[in-house]
């Protein structure tokens, strides 16, 4: 029997997201996709499936979802309080959702974007080669109460992964990019020394960085012919304020870019809550590419461990192997 998730209550911005689209950049539509791409790989590892499958991205808070038909889910990204029918669910883990179960996901405790993955992925319509909503581009929309989502089916539950810390701001590495050289050395040095605070007006398109003191503009209102924007570009607007451009960035821009956040650190910007401190640090292009390649190579190798539950709640303690790492990893799938 195929399962579906019924949205009974949706947080302020719950959208279907995957790894985004390729091929529409030339027509002004940026790749888009999940704000925290690592979270998609974690969800895929927990469910034992492909990272390209679609999940729900929940900005700030989740919602209430009712399962029609049993399915498996995983919860990743910004930790949120989650429970099903009064039972608390571990974050960064996969679980069984019984037919009729009601899953409630509250506000983010740290970070912004939490993810609800389902076994087999969310099977919403493909548009231009992907299922991702692209809100800035006018493609798709945030979910609302009454929406019904088809679930692909399959997957495994009872798995847990350690969560890579990326929810509290911190150090963000940047490579020089197309216009870095037009910024004086002094401006770049001051940019690296400045502690920025993420502005509350951030969205899937970009995040404004606030700081005390002088801005980072270039003398004489530099005129740059419009050129491509890539996710992670740090655009300096006319008043000298940096904006980090994120998943749904515009595809071209005429403001100079002081540098580009490397892909492994972009989720740190996206996930930082308003007011969180961020600091930018230049690395060479070669170093940035090396760090990015290492990060990408590690993602498919994520190895979840069996989720060892509170023994008091286990009905048949002796049937579980409680030493992590020695089981096949699927012995908790048959939860009663």
């Amino acid at each position: 029997m195929s399962a579906s998730l019924h949205v009974e209550k949706a947080g302020p911005q719950v959208t279907v997201q995957d790894l985004g689209r390729s091929g529409a950049l030339a027509f002004g539509l940026s790749r888009g996709g999940a704000m925290d791409r690592m979270a998609l790989f974690e969800g895929a590892a927990l469910l034992g499936q492909d990272a390209g499958l679609a999940a729900l991205e929940m900005a700030g808070a989740g919602g209430t979802f009712r399962a029609e038909g049993a399915c498996r889910i995983a919860l990743t990204g910004a930790p949120m309080r989650a429970q099903t029918d009064g039972r608390a669910l571990t974050w960064n883990a996969s679980h069984e959702l019984e037919d009729g179960a009601v899953l409630e996901i509250g506000a983010a405790e740290r970070g912004i974007y939490g993810y609800l993955h389902v076994g087999g992925g969310i099977e919403s319509d493909m548009v231009l080669g992907a299922r991702s909503a692209h809100l800035a581009g006018g493609l798709g929309r945030a979910l609302a109460a009454g929406d019904v989502l088809s679930v692909g089916g399959g997957g495994r539950s009872g798995q847990i992964l350690p969560s890579e810390e990326r929810f509290g701001g911190g150090r963000v590495r940047v490579v020089p990019s197309l216009q870095t050289a037009v910024f004086p050395d002094e401006t770049r040095a001051r940019f690296e020394k400045t502690e920025f605070r993420k502005d509350a007006r951030a969205n899937r398109q970009g995040a404004r960085m606030d700081a005390e003191g002088e801005g980072f503009g270039v003398d004489g209102g530099l005129h740059v012919v419009s050129e491509v924007i890539v996710p992670g570009d740090i655009q300096i607007t006319g008043d000298g304020t940096p904006f980090v451009l994120l998943a749904e960035s515009q595809t071209t821009g005429g403001y100079p870019r002081i540098g580009t956040v490397i892909p492994p650190d972009l989720a740190r910007v996206a996930q930082a809550q308003p007011g969180a401190a961020l600091r930018f640090e230049f690395v060479t292009l070669e170093e940035g590419r090396r760090l990015t390649a290492a990060w990408r190579e590690a993602r498919p190798g994520l190895k979840p461990q069996p989720l060892v539950r509170d023994p008091a709640k286990m009905t048949d303690l002796m049937s579980y192997t409680l030493i992590g790492g020695v089981t096949a990893g699927d012995d908790l799938d048959q939860e009663s």
């Binding site: 390729s22 030339a26 990019s177 012919v225 419009s226 006319g238 515009q250």
Partner: protein
């Protein structure tokens, strides 16, 4: 070419940008379009997708590709001919997009005309007769940049941003932009059209293409109210090349 162009630079960790000029110009725009078409035809391994801006061509690299190897292939192709002599792309159309100039639907016509040093009537005459070309599609889905207008229209962007609706026709720096979505902009809102530029549910989701030639003939309010509810906004097309 002079001034160190064309040149190849990195854009982030995963991109290469081939720039044909440091300023807007017709030959460099044609070069960017033709070079992108040649890149796509060659199908270089490690390139995920390509795009153009006004005077540059972008290559997004596949994760895991070797940037050095891709750059070498891109440079060999770049050096193989003088791209600024390339013809315009094939499959171009001539598109007429009916436009309501001024009124409360496009409130910056008077300010734009003044900046260009002419009366509002003269501004409408010039803008409605100009045959411009789509130089690039970008910023937002399906959104065209069109050029090039006469010298008088080399007016700066306004420092103050104003909110414009979808399908707004705006002008600055000898170019027109037709907005795909509602957006804040420093460009002056001189006309309103009814053309829906991005249709994700359609087989042709993006209505305009680089190289298309476009005019924005003036219509009155009565005619505009008749056509604006339609996705095409009364626009018509014919093939030119």
């Amino acid at each position: 070419m002079t001034d160190g162009f064309p040149r190849i630079d990195s854009a982030g960790t995963d991109g290469l940008l081939v720039r044909f000029s440091g300023a807007l110009g017709e030959p460099a725009n044609r070069a960017a379009l033709a070079y992108r078409a040649a890149l796509d035809a060659e199908g270089i391994e490690g390139v995920a997708e390509t795009s153009t801006s006004l005077v540059s061509t972008f290559l997004r690299l596949d994760p895991g590709s070797d940037p050095g190897a891709v750059e070498e292939r891109a440079r060999t192709l770049l050096d193989s001919r003088n791209w600024t002599e390339a013809p315009l792309p094939a499959g171009r159309r001539f598109v007429r997009i009916p436009t309501l100039y001024g009124t409360d639907r496009a409130p910056q016509l008077a300010a734009a005309a003044e900046a260009a040093g002419m009366s509002a009537e003269e501004a409408v005459r010039q803008l409605s007769q100009a045959r411009v070309r789509v130089t690039t599609i970008g910023f937002a889905p399906g959104q065209p940049y069109l050029g090039t207008l006469p010298e008088d229209w080399d007016i700066p962007r306004s420092a103050e941003l104003a909110q414009v609706p979808a399908a707004a026709l705006v002008v600055a720096v000898r170019q027109l932009v037709l907005f795909a979505n509602a957006s804040p902009t420093g460009w002056r809102h001189v006309g309103q059209t009814g053309l829906r530029l991005f249709r994700p549910e359609s087989e042709t989701p993006f209505v305009l293409r680089p190289g298309d030639e476009v005019t924005f003939p003036a219509v009155d309010e009565a005619e505009f109210s008749r056509i604006e509810g339609d996705d095409d906004g009364g626009a018509d097309w014919e093939d030119v090349a």
